[in-house]
C-alpha cells in the first residue's frame, strides 16, 4: 500500500517536472554561426534575453545577474552518446547602477564594461555575439562535428539566500533552447 502511494507521488513529481520543462523559454538563441578568418574560427550569433519580473526586481535592488553562454563542440557517434570535445563558457554580468540609473554589462574575463541607459539596450548588447574566437576548433573538425549553444542564468552566482528559492521558483529558471548546428553548412 505504502509503495503504491510512493509510486503515485513519484508520478506526480515527474509530471510536475515535465510540465515545468514545457514552459516557454525566456532566452532564445536566434542565430549562431561560425566564421573563418585564415586559420581561426569566430562565433557570431544573436541571443534574445528576456528577464522575468523576479529577475528585474532583484536587478533593481542591487542584485547582480550572471548569464552564461556555453559553447560545446560535439562529435556525434552512432552507437554511443555524443562526445563533448570542448566546452567554452562565456560569462556576462548585468547590474544596475543606482546613482547613475544606468545598466552595466561586463564580462569577468574582460576588463571593460559597458553602460546602457535602458535594460533593453543592455540586454540587446549582451545578446550580440560578435567575433568570439573559438581557439579549440580546427579545420578538419568542421565536417564531422557539431556546435551547441546554451544560454542561461547562473543561479549559483546569485546571493546565497536566494538560491534555494531560485531553484524552486520558475521565474528564476531562465534558460535558452539547446541550439545545435553544423559548421559545414
Amino acid at each position: 500500500m505504502l509503495i503504491k502511494r510512493l509510486l503515485f507521488a513519484l508520478c506526480l513529481l515527474v509530471m510536475a517536472i515535465a510540465s515545468h520543462a514545457s514552459e516557454p523559454v525566456d532566452i532564445a538563441i536566434k542565430t549562431a554561426n561560425l566564421s573563418q578568418q585564415q586559420d581561426s574560427y569566430f562565433l557570431n550569433g544573436r541571443i534574445h534575453y528576456s528577464l522575468s519580473g523576479e529577475a528585474i526586481e532583484a536587478l533593481h535592488h542591487g542584485v547582480t545577474l550572471n548569464f552564461n553562454v556555453d559553447v560545446s563542440i560535439i562529435e556525434p557517434r552512432r552507437w554511443l552518446w555524443s562526445k563533448h570535445h570542448h566546452n567554452i563558457q562565456l560569462s556576462y554580468q548585468i547590474k544596475y547602477h543606482t546613482l547613475a540609473k544606468i545598466y552595466q554589462i561586463s564580462r569577468p574575463q574582460d576588463i571593460g564594461q559597458h553602460n546602457f541607459a535602458s535594460l533593453d539596450a543592455a540586454l540587446h548588447a549582451m545578446g550580440n555575439l560578435n567575433e568570439i574566437p573559438i581557439h579549440a576548433m580546427s579545420g578538419n573538425q568542421l565536417t564531422d562535428y557539431y556546435l551547441a549553444l546554451d544560454a542561461y542564468l547562473n543561479i549559483e552566482a546569485l546571493p546565497l539566500p536566494m538560491r534555494p528559492l531560485a531553484y524552486l521558483s520558475p521565474g528564476w529558471h531562465l534558460q535558452s533552447n539547446h541550439y545545435l548546428w553544423s559548421p559545414k553548412q
Binding site: E57, H61, I155, P161
Partner: protein, 725 residues
C-alpha cells in the same frame, strides 16, 4: 546443550553515515556566511542533506513499519520497543522543537531589527544628496559643452578635427568626440594620447540626443570613478553632427559618491534579500531539527533493539523451558545487568535440568518400587485393599477379587457403602470395615465368616492405618486371607482321624461277630424245632447281613481315611468315559454323551478316576430312578484358556437343596436315605489329589450338574503329580 547466541549488530556504517550527514550539515550552516569558502557548495550541501534526511526518513519509516507489524503480530518485545521509541521521540521532539521555535523567532527578529525606517530614509537621503550634488556639476558641464558646440557651428568635417583638439585644451573635458547621426565617429580627441577609440554612446543615448538635441548622463568608468557624458547636437551642421564631451568627476567627489552608492546598493540588496535570508536560515534550522529528530528516532530504534534483544531471548528461553526444554542455554557477551540476568537464567536452567534428572531418577525408582510392589500384590494369594481417609477404594489386588469372588478392580474410587450397593453380598463385609476403620486407631484383626455365591467363606482380616512421612494418617490398608481351605483341611483331617479310629474300633469285633453268628447257625441248624430254627436262621442272617453292611461302611471309612496309593499315567479321559457310560447305557434310559474331538490326555490314575465317574453317574442314576423322563447328560470339553479338561455330569433329578450346596462335598453329608455321606467327599478328595477341582451347580428348573476340571498333561504336571503321588 542447546546454545543460542545473541547476535551483536554493527552500527559502524550507519553511525559513519550519520556523522557524515552531521558534518555536511555543519558545512551547510557554515556556508550561509557570505565570507565562507563553502559558499559555492551551499546548494550541493543542501541537496546532500535533503537526500541524507530522506534516506534517514526512509530508514525510520521502514523500522516503524517493521515495528508495527511486530506489534500487530504480538511479537515478543514489540510493546516495550514501541514504548522506548515513543519515549525517545517524545524526549527528543520537545526540547528540539522548543529550541527550533525560539531560535527561528530570534533569528527573524534579529534580521528584522537590522532594518529601520530611519536608516532607510537616511540612506535614501544620502543618495539623493549625492545625486543632487552631481546634478549641479552635470548642469554646469552641460553648459560648458553647449558653448563648445556653439564654437563648432558651421564647421566642415575637415576643420572639426583640428578645432576639436584646441577646444579640448580650452575646456575641462577629458575627451571630445563628434559623431554622425548614425553614430559614426567623425572626429575625436582625448587627453590621453594612447586612447585611440572614443567612449562611444550606446544607440539609445544617441537616440535621446537626437530627440532632445542634447543628452547628459553620469556614468561609472572602468576605474571605479565617475564620468559625465554630454551629447549635444551641433547646430547648423550639415549633415547633422553631435558633440560628445566626457568629463571626469574629481576623484574625491567620485569616491564619496561611489561610497554612498555602494552603501545604498548593499542596503537595498540586503533589504531585498530579507525574506530569502529568513527562509535560508529557517531551512538550515529545519534541516538541523529534522536531522536531530530522525537521528534520535533511529537511535531509539537501535537502543531499543539492543535493549530488547536479550530480553526477547530470555522470554524465548523461558518459553522453551516452560515447554520442557531444560537444556536451553543462552550465550551473551554483555557485561551489564542484562548479561547478569542471562547468566542467572543459564544457572537456573542448569539447576532445573539437574533437579529434573534427579526427579526423573526418583520417579523411575518410585515406579520400579511401585511395579515391584504391584507385582508382589498381584501374585499374592492374600487379598489387599487400600482406602483413603474417606474410605474410598484406592487399590485392589488380584487376590482380593479372587477371594471375594467380585470384580473389585472396577470399584476403584468407590466408597464402601457404594461397593455394598453394587455387590449386596459384601454388605456385611463393608459394614465391618467401616466399623473397624472408624473406631480402631491402630492395627486390628478380625475373623469374618460370610456367604457368597452359595459358598461359605471364612476370612481373616487385618487392618492398619497408612502413615505419611510426617506421621499423618493418609489412608487405610486391609490384608485378608481366605481361611476356608485351611478350616476345610482341618475338618478333613479330623474326619480322617475319626474314620480311621472308627474303622479300627468297629472292624475288629465285626469278624468275630460274623463268625460267631455263622457258627451258631451251623451248630444249631436242624437241632431246634422248625419255628425256632426259622427264627435262628432269620436272626443269624440278619446278624451276618448287618455285619457285612457295617464292614462295607467301615471299608468306606477306611478308604476315606487311608486311600490306596495312586498310580497316575497318561489317560485319555474321553475313552474312559466312553467305556463307563457303556456300562450304564442299558440301565439309564436317556444317557447322552457328548465328547468334543481331540480331547488332550490327562495325567491320572485310571482306577481312581473310574471310581469317581462311577460314583457320580450312579448318583445321577439314583436321582432320576423314579422319573419317567429322567435324563443324564455327560459332556467332555477342552478349556484351552485354563489348559484343562472339563467333565460335566448333569441330571434332571430333584437336585440338591440349596442349604446343602455348600457342604455337599463334606464327609457324612448326604441327601440319600442309605448313603454313608462319604461318596462325594472321597470324589472331591480324589479330584483334588489329581490337581483338579469339582463343583456342583444347580440346574433350572431342577437338576444338578457336577463339573470336574482336570489339568491337561504337561511335563511339569507330570513331575508335580509324580511328586504328589
Amino acid at each position: 546443550m542447546v546454545s543460542q547466541t545473541i547476535k551483536k549488530r554493527t552500527y559502524l556504517l550507519p553511525a559513519a553515515a550519520l556523522l557524515s550527514l552531521l558534518f555536511s550539515l555543519y558545512l551547510m550552516s557554515h556556508a550561509t556566511q557570505s565570507s565562507s569558502q563553502f559558499n559555492s557548495l551551499f546548494s550541493t550541501l543542501l541537496l546532500i542533506n535533503i537526500i541524507g534526511s530522506l534516506i534517514l526518513f526512509g530508514l525510520l519509516v521502514s523500522n516503524t513499519l517493521q515495528l508495527w507489524r511486530q506489534f500487530k503480530n504480538k511479537t515478543i518485545g514489540s510493546r516495550i520497543t514501541a514504548k522506548v521509541v515513543l519515549l525517545f521521540f517524545a524526549i527528543s521532539v520537545i526540547p528540539t522543537g522548543i529550541v527550533f521555535y525560539f531560535s527561528n523567532q530570534l533569528l527573524h527578529q534579529s534580521i528584522d531589527s537590522w532594518f529601520d525606517a530611519k536608516i532607510d530614509n537616511a540612506v535614501q537621503d544620502s543618495l539623493s544628496l549625492s545625486r543632487r550634488s552631481l546634478d549641479n556639476r552635470t548642469l554646469s558641464l552641460m553648459k560648458e559643452t553647449r558653448q563648445l558646440a556653439n564654437q563648432l557651428e558651421n564647421e566642415s568635417d575637415m576643420l572639426l578635427s583640428l578645432t576639436l583638439a584646441s577646444l579640448r585644451d580650452e575646456s575641462s573635458a577629458s575627451e571630445l568626440s563628434i559623431f554622425s547621426k548614425q553614430g559614426q565617429i567623425i572626429a575625436t580627441t582625448n587627453l590621453d594620447p594612447g586612447v585611440l577609440l572614443p567612449n562611444t554612446p550606446d544607440p539609445e543615448m544617441l537616440l535621446l540626443a537626437k530627440q532632445n538635441s542634447e543628452f547628459v548622463s553620469l556614468e561609472p568608468n572602468s576605474h571605479d570613478g565617475l564620468i559625465v557624458r554630454t551629447l549635444i547636437e551641433i547646430k547648423h551642421s550639415s549633415p547633422k553632427r553631435y558633440l560628445q564631451a566626457i568629463y571626469t568627476v574629481p576623484e574625491d567627489l567620485s569616491e564619496l559618491a561611489s561610497s554612498v552608492e555602494n552603501a545604498y546598493t548593499a542596503y537595498q540588496e540586503f533589504n531585498y534579500l530579507r525574506g530569502s535570508l529568513k527562509f535560508s536560515f529557517t531551512l538550515t534550522l529545519s534541516m538541523v531539527l529534522m536531522f536531530s529528530l530522525l537521528a534520535a528516532s533511529w537511535a531509539s530504534f537501535v537502543f531499543a533493539r539492543e535493549l530488547i534483544e536479550p530480553i526477547r531471548q530470555l522470554v524465548r528461553g523461558t518459553q522453551d523451558v516452560a515447554a520442557g526444554d531444560y537444556e536451553k542455554k543462552l550465550t551473551v557477551e554483555r557485561q551489564d545487568e542484562l548479561g547478569f540476568l542471562v547468566n542467572s537464567f543459564n544457572d537456573m536452567t542448569v539447576r532445573i535440568a539437574s533437579a529434573r534428572q534427579q526427579a526423573t531418577a526418583a520417579q523411575r525408582e518410585a515406579e520400579a518400587q511401585h511395579t515391584y510392589l504391584k507385582t508382589i500384590l498381584s501374585h499374592l494369594s492374600n487379598g489387599v485393599l487400600g482406602f483413603d481417609l474417606s474410605l474410598r477404594l484406592k487399590m485392589v489386588n488380584h487376590g482380593a477379587g479372587q477371594i471375594l469372588d467380585c470384580p473389585l478392580s472396577a470399584c476403584i474410587e468407590y466408597s464402601l457403602p457404594d461397593i455394598a450397593v453394587k455387590f449386596p453380598e459384601l454388605q456385611g463385609f463393608s459394614e465391618l470395615l467401616i466399623d473397624k476403620f472408624s473406631s480402631a486407631k491402630a492395627q486390628w484383626q478380625h475373623e469374618h465368616a460370610f456367604s457368597i455365591r452359595q459358598q461359605n467363606k471364612t476370612l481373616l482380616l487385618k487392618g492398619a492405618p497408612l502413615y505419611a512421612a510426617d506421621q499423618r494418617i493418609t489412608g487405610y490398608v486391609l490384608v485378608f486371607d481366605d481361611m476356608t481351605p485351611i478350616i476345610q483341611s482341618q475338618r478333613n483331617a479330623a474326619w480322617s482321624e475319626v474314620a480311621q479310629r472308627l474303622a479300627h474300633e468297629i472292624k475288629n469285633p465285626l469278624t468275630p461277630i460274623q463268625l460267631s453268628a455263622e457258627r451258631l447257625h451251623r451248630k444249631l441248624q436242624g437241632k431246634l424245632d422248625p419255628a425256632d430254627d426259622k427264627l435262628l436262621t432269620k436272626s443269624t442272617n440278619t446278624i451276618i447281613h448287618q455285619v457285612s453292611a457295617m464292614k462295607s461302611m467301615v471299608d468306606d471309612f477306611s478308604d476315606f481315611a487311608r486311600p490306596p496309593k495312586p498310580s497316575p499315567q497318561s489317560l485319555h479321559i474321553d475313552q474312559l468315559i466312553d467305556d463307563i457310560s457303556g456300562l450304564y447305557r442299558g440301565q439309564i434310559k436317556q444317557l447322552k454323551l457328548h465328547i468334543e474331538p481331540a480331547i488332550p490326555a490327562i495325567f491320572a490314575d485310571p482306577v481312581r478316576l473310574r471310581q469317581v465317574l462311577i460314583n457320580l453317574i450312579k448318583n445321577a442314576q439314583e436321582a432320576i430312578n423314579d422319573m419317567q423322563n429322567g435324563q443324564v447328560d455327560i459332556s467332555v470339553s477342552h478349556l484351552n484358556e485354563l489348559q484343562s479338561v472339563q467333565i460335566c455330569i448333569a441330571d434332571n433329578g430333584p437336585g440338591v437343596d440349596n442349604s446343602m450346596l455348600t457342604q455337599i462335598f463334606e464327609p457324612y453329608t448326604t441327601s440319600k436315605d442309605k448313603g454313608t455321606g462319604l461318596g462325594l467327599a472321597i470324589v472331591k478328595k480324589i479330584i483334588e489329589e489329581h490337581g483338579g477341582s469339582i463343583s456342583l451347580k444347580p440346574i433350572q428348573p431342577q437338576g444338578a450338574n457336577f463339573i470336574i476340571q482336570l489339568p491337561v498333561m504337561t511335563d511339569k504336571s507330570n513331575r508335580s503329580t509324580e511328586i504328589l503321588a
